[in-house]
Structure formats: structure tokens, C-alpha cells
Amino acid sequence: DQQVKQNSPSLSVQEGRISILNCDYTNSMFDYFLWYKKYPAEGPTFLISISSIKDKNEDGRFTVFLNKSAKHLSLHIVPSQPGDSAVYFCAASQSGTYKYIFGTGTRLKVLA
């Protein structure tokens, strides 16, 4: 049972445009959400997070939006750069537990 879903396996965007990566979850007890970026043959690196008490968090070119009623979060990258080409994973966790549940990932390709 996949509790965190990324339904788009891949996405291509022109350099300078907006990239929007989506993530859905099923467990309403999740209260902390994270996005990670992963290059081939490297470990994931943390990008940005959001607590369930917020609906938006921004860090430079990266903004994460959370819609609790829809159990949906999205990552916006503006403007997209070729170096953003990577696999992006969303993850969720629940207070009182230690673990992070990851989605299946979306491969972003930013075209120069």
C-alpha cells in the first residue's frame, strides 16, 4: 500500500520556465513533508520541507505548497535550470514516529 504517491514518473521543462512536481498521500496522520533531490549514483539531498500547520514554504527558487484537504503537496521550481535535472522524491512523516515514507520519484529534465 503506497502511502505517498508521485504519479508522474517524468517531467520535461524548458530552462527558465516553472517546474511543478506533484505528490499525493493517503495517511491523514502525516504532519511533516519533505522534498529531496537525487542525482545518479549519489544519495538524496534535502531540498525543502513543510509542516502541516502551514500551506506554503519558500526557499529561493523552491516553493512547496500543501493542500491538507486534498492530501496533496507540490514543489515549484522557478526559474528551472539545467542543473535541476534530477529525480525528486517527496517524503512524509508523522509525529511520534521516526521514519520517513518516500514516494516513487519524478525524473525532472530541464532542457537548455
Binding site: 514518473p9 544519495g43 520541507s49 509542516s51 521516526y98 518516500f102
Partner: protein
Amino acid sequence: DVKVTQSSRYLVKRTGEKVFLECVQDMDHENMFWYRQDPGLGLRLIYFSYDVKMKEKGDIPEGYSVSREKKERFSLILESASTNQTSMYLCASSLFVSGGRTEAFFGQGTRLTVV
């Protein structure tokens, strides 16, 4: 900077061998994790540990065990390697924060091939 170091980048082992994957973190984190990454399946949690000598099963613990004798070190053991354990293995650590709102830091990964 937090550093999570996995002992090998690439490993090739034979079916039936006992395999040890080692992970060390240098930031005094309480929590440590082992995930595996497979195409189309994302990152799946094998085991995690929230303290020395404490461990809990993740979503896919079958065929694996773990050891945490020291706070900074978390080992993943494949008792008898099989070809379906060929994968990218990722170790991570995180700080215990009341309420659990903190990120995990990952190592560079170990690409294990079982032949």
C-alpha cells in the same frame, strides 16, 4: 555539515554470501535508517534505529538484519544474499527532535550487485 558515510560505493557479491554494509554518521544523530532504492519503487525502508541497540523493522525487512552497537554506526546485514537484493542501498540519519520535524541526511549510497 552532516556527514553520512557508507563504507563502499560498489559491491559485487555471490548468491548465498553474508554481506555487511556499514554506515557512519558524525553528527551525533539518534536516528539512523537503511533504505533501498529500486526503479519505479522509490525508496523503501528496510530497518531503522532510534537509539543504540534499538531497532525497528521497516516495510521490507525480510532477508535483512541490522546492528547498532555504537551511536554513530549502523550496519545492514544480508544474511544470505540473493539476486533480488541487487539494489542501491542508502543509509540516512536524523536528529531526534520532539515532534519529529527534522530532515534526514543521506549517505552516497552503495550499489550492490548479487550474482
